[in-house]
């Protein structure tokens, strides 16, 4: 019998699954759960993934979160100059948590409100325009809501998506490749008509209507929409090894179990 598991652990498995079958690319999971998810992928179904020590080097053994003992064995270098070489080559899959996401998959990290004078300014575009134009991208949303899944376009388009109005003749958008959106309610993908966002699976105890109500644009509901699969015992053991201090318990308020009551 499988152990009980938490929503955070369910989400980690969903994040890991996003990296399955990507081939030999740099898996960049930014934030606690995507990072553990990428490590889980590499340690189970996708050993070919490249991964960093979260600073400037490549490693083959994913590094557990928290204080380290000793120096990890390195397999290569991933200075920022090399990061852009990899990004522009297309050999990367980044999973980050944007401030806003729209129906086209466009994402925003810059701020809320008009570009010239945003109501809430954040850090800037960071690598979103380059990531989105060049390699696979996924998103992690810890609090699925209309504040994040906005009705119109995101206020400031950092990450590009499938909005035809933003692409002019002659521009090559073939490298835009949005994969998964993992939230606290469900997994979504871009496999609807014309890359429309589709609910791929619902987390245990969540309904489609709940998800739709928390989203600012209409979602595609596929035939036979099922439940997000959770971790097996082996996966839970790997997760525990990647997060020995239990940092995953503090991502969601009160660290709820995977199944909503």
């Amino acid at each position: 019998m499988t152990q009980e598991f938490t929503l955070a652990e369910l989400v980690i498995v969903a994040c890991a699954d996003a990296f399955r079958g990507n081939g030999e690319i740099l898996a960049s999971g930014v934030g606690t759960l995507p990072r553990i998810g990428a490590g889980l992928a590499k340690l189970t179904h996708s050993p070919e993934l490249l991964m960093t020590d979260s600073e400037a080097f490549l490693i083959e053994d994913p590094i557990p979160l928290g204080p380290r003992t000793g120096t990890p064995a390195l397999s290569g270098c991933m200075s920022y100059a090399r990061v852009f070489d990899i990004v522009w080559s297309g050999r990367r899959h980044a999973m980050i948590g944007p401030l806003q996401i729209d129906r086209f998959g466009q994402t925003n990290l810059s701020g809320v409100g008009p570009y010239a004078q945003p109501k809430i300014a954040m850090l800037g575009m960071r690598g979103l325009p380059g990531n989105s134009a060049n390699h696979i991208n996924s998103m992690f949303v810890p609090n699925h809501s209309k504040r994040i899944f906005v009705e119109g376009e995101v206020d400031i388009v950092g990450g590009v998506g499938y909005n035809p109005a933003r692409w002019l003749p002659g521009m090559n958008q073939t490298a835009v490749d949005l994969r998964r959106i993992v939230t606290d309610l469900c997994i979504m993908d871009f496999e609807g008509p014309d890359h429309a966002i589709r609910v791929r699976s619902l987390h245990p105890g969540v309904t489609f209507d709940q998800v739709q109500d928390a989203t600012g644009f209409p979602l595609i509901r596929p035939e036979g929409l099922g439940e997000t699969p959770g971790p097996d015992d082996a996966a839970l053991a790997v997760i525990a090894s990647l997060d020995p201090k239990g940092m995953r318990a503090s991502v969601f308020k009160d660290n709820p179990p995977a199944r909503r009551s």
Partner: protein, 295 residues
Amino acid sequence: MTTTFDKRLTAEAMVASLADGMTIGIGGWGPRRKPMALVRAILRSGLKDLTVVAYGGPEVGMLLAAGKIKTLIYGFVSMDVIPADPFFRHARQTGAFEARELDEGLLQWGLRAAAMRVPFLPTRTGLGSDVLTANPDFRTVTSPYDDGEVLLAMPAIKLDVALLHATKADRLGNTLTMGPDPFFDDLFARAATRTFVSADEVVERLDLDAATAKDNFYERCFVTGVVETTCGAHPTTNPPRHGWDFKAMKAYAAAAGEEGGWNAYRRDVIGTDEADYIDRMGGVATINALPLPIF
């Protein structure tokens, strides 16, 4: 018989050689290896109307708070452990400066264009995004080959001055920068008309070996002056010497929440003298004992 030359100067002499309205590139990355002593010298000066180009850390918030920046060209501004710099946020939200947000990769591409002395470099990055809104003067270029692809023509970001921090330098302008990542200090130096490097230690002559010679990231012909300033990167990380000073960065960020906070911070923390600043921060030994961050 051999005549010789000497690039040493003080931070004050460096600032005196700058002019209002200049475009200044600042090396490092976020809260990592920033030439903070040189920035503090600018904060203590009357210099203004600057265009600043940076992968921004605390230096950007400080220069904004002090009203030094007219235009900011940046991929981000962040102190990592304090993700959003409150002085930056406030300035951005009040439209206090012209914000030219770029993708991080575009910023280095623009510096590379300047370094290679071409007016632009083509890329797909930025297309489809509000980089084009943020930078209305950006233009596209069409590939002259059969693909006919339309690309962003990232314009060269030419710098009047680059400010960088190194671990060690010599009076000839040779530098050694330790730490795991060069970031884009080399491109800042190559893109600039003049480059000033602060270093924790300035020696007569750097004698490197094959392993360390590669950590002289930019040839000394790109270095105009070197400033000895021990712990000059404080409060940012400067491996292998010291990590960032979280307490100091927190105190800086907290100042933004207080009435007249910047003026008090400028007066009481930045002060009028770099040696006094280092003393106030606990002194060289304390700073060099700051542990390196783990990610």
